[in-house]
C-alpha cells in the first residue's frame, strides 16, 4: 500500500541521529577515499556513535538560512510545524561539515596546499552562512604520525594550517592511511559526535532564546513549534530524557491551543505526532506503563475532537491510525525484549484501530454517497503548487489562514466534496482486514483463543462486505466449531446467517444446504418466520430450483447470484450431497438403540431408530439406511419411501418418513444375525437419512455410529443430571431425552435344549481309573446332529495338574503319561428328540487335591427364524469339582522276634517287619495282593507270601502282614540300610472286572543295623510241667573275632523256689561258670527244674 495522508511521516518515525556531511572525498575514483567512506558506513552497530553520514561535494549548496528575526512583535505564524522542518534537520542541514584533504606534514609544496585547503574550508563556510554548523578538517596522510610533541614540523604546520583556515586546534584531525584505518575512523567519528552535540546544544539554546519574545495571544502556535523543535534537537543530541520532557510540554501546549473546526485537524495531527514521540521514547526508556498512560490520555483528550461533521470519517481514520501506530510501537518494543501479558498486548490496539477503521467505513458510507453524476471538482482543491502542504494538518485550499471564519465558503464546499469523493475510493475493507489480522496474530500469541475467534468472525464479515465471499466463508467456517463446541448459540446463529448469505451469493450448494440445516436446527436462535423461510428455500434447492435471496444482501450481488443459481439448475451433474452431521447441529436428530445388549442367534435382532425434527414445518425424507460393521446386514435395514420431489412438504402426517416437528418418530428394524457372527459384536457404523430424491437434489445426512451430533453429548449429560419428572406421553411416544443411544449388540449362541448329567462316586482315589459317566439327553423338538463331547480337566488351572491328570475313554487299560488331560471334540453322533446317550470317561489323578473337570457338549440344529432356515450351533457345559484322596495309609514297623519294638536291628539276628494297611477310602477297597521286594542287603528268614490276598477293607479297617527278615552284618552304614519296597495291588471293590488293578509301591524305611559282641539265645520250651525238669538251653554266641571272657551267673526266680530242689538251688546259687568263649562258638546248656 502506498502511504496515505494518515500515515505518520517517515522522518517522525525514524530515530533522529546527528547529521554530519563529509566533503572532499572522491568515493568513485579514489580507492583511499572509498576505503575511508566504507569504514564510516560499514558495520554501524549499536556500539558506534549515532551519526548519519553523507558524502557531499565541497561546493554543495546547503539550504539557505533565513535572516534572523530581530523582533517577533509583528510576526504571526501561519501554522504549527512546517512539513519540511524535520527532514531539513535530519538530512539537509548538517551539524558538522568535515573537509577531507590529502596533505602530509612534509609536503614540499606546503604553502600552495595550505592555501588550497583554506579555500575549500572557506567555500563550505560561505554555503553555511548564518548557521552554527561546525567545520572540521581531516588531513589524509600517507605516513604514520610521530607521537605528539616529537614532530616539530608537524606542530608548527598544524598551527599554521589552523590559522589559515580559521579553525580551532580541536577541529583539525589527521587520518594516516595505514593499517589501522577502522580504529582511526572510530576515533574520528567520536570527535565528530562531540562537535555535533555542541552544535545541537547551541541550536537548542538558540530556539530557547526566542521564547522571551513571544506573547501568549498571537504566538500560541510558536510555543508548540519551539517546544517541539527543542525536543527534536534534544533527540538529535541523543538526550532522550530532555527530549521526552520537552515533548511532554509540547503535548500540553498543543492542547492549550484554541481549537476550532478549521484548525482541529492541524491540532490533532501535531498532537498525534508528539504523542507518537512520547510513547516511542517511553518504550525506549523501558517504561511501557508510562507509554500506555500517555496514550490513554491522548485518546481521551482527542476522542471527542471530531471536527467537521461532514468529514467525521477523517477523525475515525485518524483515531484508527493512532491505535495502529501505538500497536506498532508496542510490538516493536516486544521484539526488543519487552514482555506483554494477556490483558495488555498490542492486539488490543490493533483491534481498536480496526474498530475505528470500521467506523470510518460506516461514516464514509453515509457521508460520501454522492450520486454518480457529481464530478470531482476541477481545478482540484487538494492540489497545491508544490505538491505538498506547507504545514502539517492544514487544508490545501486555505493554507496558512488562521482565521476561524471561512473566508470563502464556496471553496470550502468544493474542498470538502473533493475529500469525500476521494474517501469513496479508499479500500476500507482492506484496511480493516489488515488491522484485524494483525490483532489476530497478537491474540494468538497471548493465549486468547476466543478473542481470536471473534476477530476472525469480524474478518469474515468484512470479507463479506468486501464481496470476497470465498475468504469470508473460509474464515467463518473455521471459527464456527469453536462457538458450537462451547454452546454459544446466539453467536453461532449470527455467524451461520452470514455464512448462509455468502454461500447463497456464490451459489455453493453444499455449503448452502449445510448452513440451512443448522439454522433450522435446535442450536439456531432464529425466529420461526426466519426458519420457515430457510426451510422453504432448502426445499426449493432440493427440488432443483433457485432459492429466494437472503435478506439484506447487496442488490448487484444478488443479481449475479441468481444467474449462478440458474446455471446450477441447468447443469445436471452429481446432485447427491453427503453431509456428516457429527460436526454440526442439524435440524434432525437421530438415535439408534438396540433392544437388548445381546441377542441369541435364533431370534431376530431388533433395534429402533428414533428421529426428531426441529424445523418449523413437517418434512418428508426419502430414504433411511443403516450401516453395520458387517455390511451384510445393511440390506435389511433400509426404508425407502417413493415420493415425488414436490411432495416433500405435502401430506405431512402420512408415511413413515415424514417427521412432524417436535414429535419423536420411532422406526423398528429387524434382521436375523448370521451364525458366523456368534460371539461377535454387531455395531451400527452409520445412519444415513436422505432428503430429496435423485431427480432433484438429494442430501444424505450421515450420522456416525448410533447418532448424535455436535451438541448431543452435552444434552445427554444435562438430561442425565435432570431429576425433572417428564410429563406422561401416550404409550407409543417417548421422551427424546430419555432415549439412550445403544449402537452395538452382541450375538450369542442359541440356548441349548439338552441336559448333561454326570454320575460318579467322589472322591477319586490317587492313581485309580476314576469313572465319570456322562449322560446327554436331547430335549429338542428335532434331531440334533454332530454332537461332540469335550471333557477333561478344565483349562486354566494349575499347570502341574495338567501333568498329573490323564483322561481316557477306555477304562480297561491303565493310563500313562502320554494321555492328555482334556479330550476334545469326541464325536458321539446324532440324537433324536428325547434320546439319551451315555459315555464313560476314566480319569487318573496322580496327586491329591481338588480339580475342576469340564464336560462340554456341542451340537448342530436346524432352526427356522423369521422364515429363514439357519443352522445353529448350541453347546452346553457342565463343570464338576472332584477331590482326590489317598486310598489307604501304610504303616511299617520293625519288631524283634519277641514282638518288641526295635529302634534298630542287629546284624545277623532275625527280626520282624510288620506292615499295616489302613483304608482311608470312603468306598470299600479290595487288596488283590501284596508283595515284599527286599533290598539286596536284606534276606528273608522264611517264605515271603502275601498274607492279605483278596482282603476287602471297609473305611477305617486295616490289614496287617508280618515278615521275618535278617540283615547280614555290613559294618557301620550311615543312615541305615535300605529295606526294600512293599507293593500293594488293589482296586475299588465296586469296580468292574475289566478295570485294571492298581499297583501302589511303598518304599520301606531304612533301618539302622548294629553289630553286637555277644548274642544270648535262650532256647526255652514253650511250656514246662510242674515237677518235671525243664530243659533250658542258653545259646551264647561270640560275634567278635576275639576270645572273650564270659562270666555267667544264673539267678533263679522266685517261682522256682517252690520246687525245693537243692540241686537247682545249688546250681542256681552256687554254680559259677568260669569259662572262656571262643569266637563265633560256644554253647552252654543248662537245665533247670
Amino acid at each position: 500500500m502506498s502511504p496515505t495522508q494518515w500515515d505518520l511521516p517517515v522522518e517522525l518515525c525514524c530515530r533522529p541521529m546527528a547529521f554530519v556531511t563529509l566533503t572532499g572525498l572522491d568515493v568513485v575514483y579514489n580507492a583511499v577515499h572509498r576505503a575511508v567512506w566504507d569504514a564510516f558506513c560499514a558495520n554501524r552497530r549499536a556500539d558506534r556513535v549515532p551519526i548519519s553520514f553523507k558524502v557531499l561535494p565541497g561546493d554543495h549548496e546547503y539550504p539557505k538560512c533565513r535572516p534572523k528575526r530581530t523582533s517577533y512583535e509583528w510576526y504571526i505564524p501561519k501554522g504549527i510545524l512546517k512539513t519540511g522542518w524535520m527532514n531539513k534537520h535530519l538530512n539537509l542541514v548538517p551539524a558538522l561539515v568535515v573537509v577531507f584533504y590529502e596533505l602530509d606534514w612534509d609536503e614540499p609544496q606546503w604553502k600552495e596546499k595550505q592555501s588550497e585547503c583554506a579555500t575549500r574550508v572557506e567555500i563550505v563556510r560561505q554555503s553555511l552562512q548564518g548557521r552554527n554548523t561546525k567545520v572540521a578538517v581531516v588531513l589524509i596522510q600517507k605516513k604514520t604520525p610521530l607521537p605528539p610533541g616529537e614532530d616539530v614540523i608537524a606542530s608548527e604546520r598544524a598551527a599554521a594550517l589552523c590559522n589559515a583556515c580559521e579553525l580551532s586546534g580541536k577541529s583539525l584531525f589527521v587520518l594516516p592511511h595505514t593499517d589501522h584505518l577502522v580504529g582511526y575512523i572510530i576515533r574520528l567519528e567520536n570527535a565528530f559526535y562531540e562537535h555535533a552535540q555542541t552544535y545541537y546544544y547551541t541550536e537548542i539554546r538558540r530556539v530557547k532564546s526566542h521564547k522571551e519574545f513571544l506573547n501568549k495571544t498571537t504566538h500560541q502556535l510558536l510555543f508548540v513549534r519551539h517546544q517541539f523543535k527543542i525536543a527534536f534537537f534534544s533527540e538529535l543530541k541523543q538526550d532522550t530524557q530532555n527530549a521526552l520532557k520537552n515533548y511532554r510540554t509540547a503535548y500540553n501546549l498543543v492542547h492549550e491551543l484554541r481549537a476550532h473546526e478549521t484548525n482541529i485537524l492541524e491540532i490533532k495531527t501535531m498532537a498525534g505526532f508528539i504523542n507518537y514521540k512520547i510513547c516511542r521514547l517511553c518504550f525506549q526508556h523501558n517504561t511501557p506503563l508510562d507509554a500506555i498512560a500517555q496514550f490513554r490520555k491522548h485518546i481521551d483528550l482527542c476522542k471527542k475532537k471530531i471536527g467537521s461533521a461532514e468529514l467525521s470519517f477523517e477523525h475515525a481514520a485518524w483515531m484508527s491510525k493512532q491505535f495502529q501506530a501505538f500497536g506498532d510501537l508496542f510490538d516493536e518494543a516486544i521484539k526488543l525484549g519487552l514482555t506483554a501479558i494477556q490483558t495488555q498486548n498490542p492486539g488490543f490496539y490493533y483491534q481498536q484501530a480496526a474498530y475505528y477503521a470500521q467506523e470510518r467505513k460506516q461514516l464514509a458510507k453515509s457521508l460520501c454517497n454522492h450520486e454518480a453524476s457529481i464530478m470531482y471538482p476541477n481545478p482540484d482543491p487538494l492540489e497545491t503548487q508544490t505538491g505538498v502542504l506547507d504545514f502539517y494538518g492544514q487544508r490545501s485550499w486555505r493554507q496558512g489562514i488562521l482565521s476561524f471564519d471561512l473566508s470563502d465558503p464556496e471553496k470550502e464546499k468544493v474542498g470538502v466534496l473533493a475529500i469525500q469523493l476521494k474517501e469513496r475510493n479508499v479500500a476500507h475493507s482492506e484496511i480493516i482486514i489488515t488491522l484485524l489480522s494483525n490483532a489476530v496474530a497478537q491474540f494468538k500469541k497471548y493465549k486468547c483463543p476466543r478473542m481470536k475467534s471473534h476477530l476472525m468472525v469480524q474478518m469474515g464479515e468484512e470479507y463479506y462486505y468486501a464481496k470476497d465471499y470465498t475468504k469470508a466463508l473460509k474464515l467463518l467456517d473455521y471459527v464456527m466449531c469453536d462457538y458450537r463446541s462451547e454452546g454459544w448459540w446466539t453467536l453461532l446463529t449470527s455467524i451461520l446467517t452470514t455464512a448462509l448469505k455468502c454461500s447463497y451469493l456464490m451459489a455453493q450448494l453444499k455449503d448452502y444446504i449445510t448452513y440451512s440445516l443448522e439454522l433450522l436446527g435446535r442450536a439456531s436462535t432464529l425466529k420461526d418466520d426466519q426458519k420457515s423461510r430457510i426451510e422453504k428455500n432448502l426445499i426449493n434447492v432440493l427440488m432443483n430450483e433457485s432459492p429466494d435471496p437472503e435478506p439484506d444482501c447487496d442488490i448487484f450481488a444478488v443479481k449475479t447470484a441468481q444467474k449462478l443459481w440458474a446455471d446450477r439448475i441447468s447443469l445436471a451433474g452429481s446432485n447427491i450431497f453427503t453431509i456428516g452431521v457429527q460436526d454440526f447441529v442439524p435440524f434432525v436428530q437421530c438415535k439408534a438403540k438396540f433392544h437388548a445388549p445381546s441377542f441369541h442367534v435364533d431370534v431376530p435382532v431388533e433395534f429402533d431408530i428414533y428421529l426428531k425434527a426441529d424445523c418449523p414445518h413437517p418434512i418428508r425424507f426419502s430414504k433411511l439406511c443403516v450401516s453395520f460393521n458387517n455390511q451384510e446386514y445393511n440390506q435389511f435395514c433400509v426404508i425407502e419411501e417413493a415420493s415425488k420431489a414436490n411432495e416433500v412438504l405435502e401430506n405431512p402426517t402420512q408415511g413413515k418418513m415424514c417427521l412432524v416437528p417436535g414429535k419423536t418418530r420411532k422406526l423398528l428394524f429387524k434382521f436375523v444375525a448370521k451364525t458366523e457372527d456368534v460371539g461377535k459384536k454387531i455395531e451400527i457404523t452409520s445412519v444415513d437419512l436422505a432428503l430429496g430424491n435423485e431427480t432433484g437434489r438429494c442430501v444424505v445426512l450421515n450420522w456416525q455410529g448410533g447418532g448424535g451430533d455436535a451438541a448431543s453429548s452435552q444434552e445427554a449429560l444435562q438430561a442425565a443430571r435432570s431429576f425433572k419428572r417428564r410429563p406422561k406421553l401416550p404409550d407409543n411416544e417417548v421422551h427424546w431425552d430419555s432415549i439412550i443411544i445403544q449402537a452395538s449388540t452382541m450375538i450369542i449362541s442359541r440356548v441349548p435344549n439338552i441336559s448333561v448329567h454326570l454320575r460318579h462316586e467322589p472322591p477319586a482315589l490317587t492313581n485309580e481309573m476314576y469313572c465319570l459317566v456322562v449322560t446327554v439327553q436331547s430335549h429338542e423338538k428335532t434331531q440334533i446332529r454332530d454332537v461332540k463331547l469335550t471333557a477333561g480337566l478344565k483349562p486354566g488351572q494349575d499347570a502341574n495338574l495338567t501333568q498329573k491328570t490323564h483322561v481316557t475313554l477306555h477304562g480297561t487299560e491303565l493310563c500313562d503319561e502320554s494321555y492328555p488331560a482334556l479330550l476334545t471334540d469326541i464325536p458321539v453322533g446324532d440324537l433324536h428328540p428325547g434320546e439319551q446317550l451315555e459315555k464313560m470317561l476314566y480319569v487318573r489323578c496322580g496327586t491329591v487335591g481338588s480339580r475342576m473337570f469340564l464336560v462340554y457338549v456341542s451340537y448342530l440344529i436346524n432352526i427356522t427364524a423369521e422364515e429363514k432356515e439357519i443352522v445353529c450351533k448350541c453347546h452346553k457345559d457342565e463343570t464338576v469339582t472332584i477331590e482326590t484322596v489317598f486310598p489307604f495309609d501304610v504303616a511299617v514297623k520293625f519288631v524283634s522276634t519277641k514282638f518288641e519294638h526295635l529302634e534298630r536291628v542287629y546284624a545277623d539276628i532275625p527280626f520282624l517287619l510288620m506292615t499295616d494297611l489302613l483304608s482311608a477310602s470312603p468306598w470299600a477297597l479290595t487288596v488283590v495282593s501284596s508283595e515284599l521286594q527286599l533290598a539286596p542287603s536284606m534276606t528273608t528268614v522264611d517264605q515271603l507270601e502275601s498274607q492279605v490276598d483278596n482282603v476287602v477293607l471297609q473305611t477305617g479297617e486295616s490289614a496287617s502282614e508280618c515278615f521275618c527278615l535278617r540283615c547280614p552284618s555290613l559294618g557301620n552304614v550311615e543312615g541305615g540300610v535300605a529295606t526294600g519296597h512293599y507293593i500293594i495291588s488293589w482296586k475299588r471293590t465296586s469296580a468292574m472286572e475289566n478295570i485294571p488293578v492298581i499297583r501302589t509301591v511303598i518304599t520301606l524305611p531304612h533301618v539302622i543295623v548294629e553289630n553286637i559282641p555277644l548274642h544270648v539265645n535262650a532256647d526255652l520250651p514253650s511250656f514246662g510241667r510242674v515237677r518235671e525238669s525243664l530243659p533250658v538251653k542258653y545259646h551264647l554266641q561270640n560275634k567278635t573275632d576275639f576270645v572273650q571272657d564270659v562270666e555267667i551267673s544264673v539267678e533263679p526266680s522266685d517261682a522256682f523256689m517252690f520246687s525245693g530242689l537243692k540241686q537247682v538251688q545249688a546250681i542256681s546259687c552256687g554254680v559259677y561258670v568260669d569259662t572262656k568263649l571262643r569266637p563265633r562258638d560256644g554253647e552252654l546248656y543248662l537245665w533247670f527244674l
Binding site: 485518546i299 494477556q342 490483558t343 488490543f348 481498536q352 474498530y355 493465549k447 486468547c448 483463543p449 476466543r450 478473542m451 471473534h454 468472525v457 462457538y483 462451547e486 454452546g487 454459544w488 446466539t490 453467536l491 449470527s494 452435552q714 449429560l717 444435562q718 443430571r721 435432570s722 431429576f723 425433572k724 419428572r725 410429563p727
Partner: protein, 196 residues
C-alpha cells in the same frame, strides 16, 4: 449501572445473559465470550491456591475503549461477567464486588430451587404466568405441576396443563421456580436500571 450481566456455566456456555441496550446484544455476547479467555487464565493461575483462601472476585478482566469487563467465579466454576460503561466512574472496585456478591446470592437461590436443573439455562418463563392476587387467601402464584413438589394442595385445570396454587406467605412459595427465577431476573434488572 451494569450494561451487561452474564452467568456462564462451568463448561463455558451461557446460562444467562442480558444486556441493556438490546439492539446491540450480539456485541455484548461477543464481549462476554472473549472475556472468558482471561477468566480461564486467571482460574488456571489460582488453581493451586487453597479453596478457602481463594478470592472469587477476579477483578477487571480487560478494558476496552468503551467498556470495562469484570469477572467473578464461584467455587463450582460458574462464572459471572459484568460489563460496565467505561465512563461510569462511580463504580469502584468495592461496588462491583458487592454487586457480584448479590448476584452470587441470587444465583444460589436459583440453584436451591427444586424445579431448576443445574446446568440448564436460567429462564424465567414461569414468571410470566399470571398472578392471581384476587383469590381469597391470596395472592397466589400459578405454576405448572412438574415435579413431586406439586403434590401440595390445590390444583386447577386451565389451559396449559394443571396448575398448582400456592400462597406466597408459605415457605413453599420460596421454593417455587417462578418466584425465584424471576427474582434473579429482577435483581439483574435492578442492577442495570440504575444507569438510566
Amino acid at each position: 449501572m451494569a450494561v451487561c450481566i452474564a452467568v456462564i456455566a462451568k463448561e463455558n456456555y451461557p446460562l444467562y445473559i442480558r444486556s441493556t441496550p438490546t439492539e446491540n446484544e450480539l456485541k455484548f455476547h461477543y464481549m462476554v465470550h472473549t472475556s472468558l479467555d482471561v477468566v480461564d487464565e486467571k482460574i488456571s493461575a489460582m488453581g493451586k491456591a487453597l479453596v478457602d483462601q481463594r478470592e472469587l472476585y477476579l477483578g477487571l478482566l480487560y478494558p476496552t475503549e468503551d467498556y470495562k469487563v469484570y469477572g467473578y467465579v464461584t467455587n463450582s466454576k460458574v462464572k459471572f461477567v459484568m460489563v460496565v460503561d467505561s465512563s461510569n466512574t462511580a463504580l469502584r472496585d468495592n461496588e462491583i464486588r458487592s454487586m457480584f456478591r448479590k448476584l452470587h446470592n441470587s444465583y444460589t437461590d436459583v440453584m436451591c430451587n427444586p424445579f431448576y436443573n443445574p446446568g440448564d439455562r436460567i429462564q424465567s418463563r414461569w414468571a410470566l404466568l399470571p398472578v392471581s392476587a384476587s383469590s381469597p387467601g391470596g395472592p397466589y402464584f400459578l405454576c405448572p405441576i412438574q415435579s413431586r413438589w406439586a403434590l401440595l394442595p390445590v390444583s386447577v385445570s386451565s389451559p396449559g396443563g394443571p396448575y398448582f396454587l400456592c400462597p406466597i406467605q408459605s415457605r413453599w412459595a420460596l421454593l417455587l421456580c417462578p418466584i425465584q427465577s424471576r427474582a434473579f431476573d429482577n435483581m439483574v434488572t435492578s442492577m442495570m436500571i440504575q444507569v438510566c
